[in-house]
Amino acid sequence: MNKVPGTLKLGLLRGQMEIIQFSRQKEAVVFTIFFPVILLAIFGSVFKDTIAPGVTFSQYFVAGMIASGLVNTGFQNIAINIPIERDMGAIKRLRGTPLPITSYFIGKAISVLVSMAVQVIILLAIGVAFFGLNMPTEPSKWLTFTWLLVLGTASSTALGVAFSSVPKNGRGASAIVSPVVIILQFFSGVFFVFTQLPGWMQQVAAIFPLKWLTQGMRSVFLPDSFAAQEVAKSWEGGRTALILLVWLIVGLFFAVKTFRWENK
């Protein structure tokens, strides 16, 4: 008998199916891609002044939108969609096949990465065209951007899978997951300048990945001179990578440990 196909190959196929499935839900596609753009338009119009020399609020805000896009697309969508998939019997059906559960997770991560890439391209294009966004030119910044995107996708996906065990069923999932994300966005300096938030908020935010993703994205989109205005007076790239890695491991641990193929 031939061997069953490899985990990675099946993971790529799962990713392809996840993308097809997502792309056919037209409302979700439009919402996911244009919501950050709409927010950029609103915040860009409301806050017209500069935060620092050469740094507009739009510039600051784009970093936050990309970071929170990772949390929305990875953590939030996955933690809401897995309970719905459970309700529909999709995961139970997969569970009855030789598909490894790891391939299922890989498929989710791939769809998050692809969706993020599309969101980022559109957000940046519109930002440059209409909101005076300055694109970084140094290759090192784009390198930082790439590892942030990959590590952010991985940890956000893993945490989404882990958190998907919290909602009892698909109907209640959104009500449980969304507030967590919204509060985190306010605490992490997505909508406001982080250093202007109360100290306790900053400290709470520093526990979670979104603050570090946001700060990391600022290190890509803001001039290096702005680093002096961060809490630690630097971009803290190394610490950001470490904290995202820790959250990735925590997420993977609970994802594997608590994953259920049907609702209770």
Partner: protein
């Protein structure tokens, strides 16, 4: 060769005993039906055999493996079985051929995608979205996904619930084709005619226990049960139970000197016997 061997299987959910000590032995190549009312323990039994649930006690061997086997051995085992569970509503935004092809990629030796779609009668719907399918078509897609891996053993949990009569006929013929191809099939159903039509052997299950295992024709002593001869006598409708209905009819024919008025000879139907076995529980 035994494909499934179960001894002393039990499973409870809290205070509710779903399976209360079941023994089963299913041979290669047969269609075996678990027949019983809702809540009798059919689905729990199948879900244990298919590796979805762990039993509380008892030994289970399916294709020589414990269904709880994990890792690569578990994957190779799943490669040899096909599972059609009770109604699912997933995969709505995929096209029929797309999802069947996707599932074929999970297995080492899958069947041909288009042949499977043809076998379940969905060729005309191959490019339709799953959410556009009717209930019966959806169920046939479930079967397609269950058999795409070319399984040696197929689990079918109440496959035709909600089908119209024509769809059931078509479905039964598909199942017979699978059997002809050498697939062993464990089927649960609460339809008597389905068990009678398809199964080589039937186990009647009620309240988590197997009451009897037999061929449909012999179930409950059906073939040896007394026949009832009834006719219109001079003082109204008469009837007589007998092991030798022919003798009774011959005797009556002599009495009437020819045609016996309103002659009817009946044997207990499978339904009569089944209802007696499950203690008068109804759906």
């Amino acid at each position: 060769m035994k494909v499934i061997e179960v001894k002393g299987l039990t499973k409870s959910y809290g205070d509710f005993t779903a399976v209360a000590g079941i023994d089963l032995a299913i041979e290669a190549g047969e269609i075996f039906a678990l027949l019983g009312p809702n809540g009798a323990g059919k689905t729990t039994t199948v879900e244990i055999l298919a590796g979805f649930r762990a039993p509380d006690s008892g030994s289970v061997s399916v294709l020589g493996f414990d269904p709880a086997t994990k890792g690569d051995a578990g994957r190779s085992w799943r490669n040899r079985i096909g599972i059609v569970l009770q109604t699912a509503s997933d995969a709505g935004s995929f096209k029929v051929r797309e999802i069947v092809k996707h599932f074929s990629a999970f297995y080492a030796n899958p069947r041909d995608v288009d042949q499977v779609i043809e076998a379940v009668g969905l060729t005309a719907k191959r490019d339709s979205l799953v959410l556009e399918l009717s209930g019966g078509q959806r169920r046939r897609l479930d079967v397609a996904l269950g058999i795409i891996g070319n399984p040696e053993l197929l689990f079918l949990d109440e496959p035709t619930t909600g089908f119209d009569p024509e769809a059931r006929r078509a479905f039964w013929s598909l199942i017979r084709d699978l059997k002809a191809g050498g697939t062993t099939i464990l089927l649960t159903t609460h339809y008597l005619d389905e068990a009678e039509e398809l199964a080589d052997r039937v186990a009647v299950i009620t309240a988590g226990k197997i009451v009897e295992v037999s061929t449909p024709a012999l179930l409950g002593g059906r073939s040896t049960a007394k026949a009832t001869v009834s006719w219109l006598g001079t003082s109204g409708l008469k009837s007589e139970e007998s092991d030798n209905p022919t003798a009774v009819v011959t005797k009556l024919a002599a009495q009437f000197g020819g045609e016996i008025p309103k002659l009817v000879i009946t044997r207990p139907s499978l339904e009569d016997i089944y209802l007696k076995m499950i203690g008068g529980q109804h759906e």
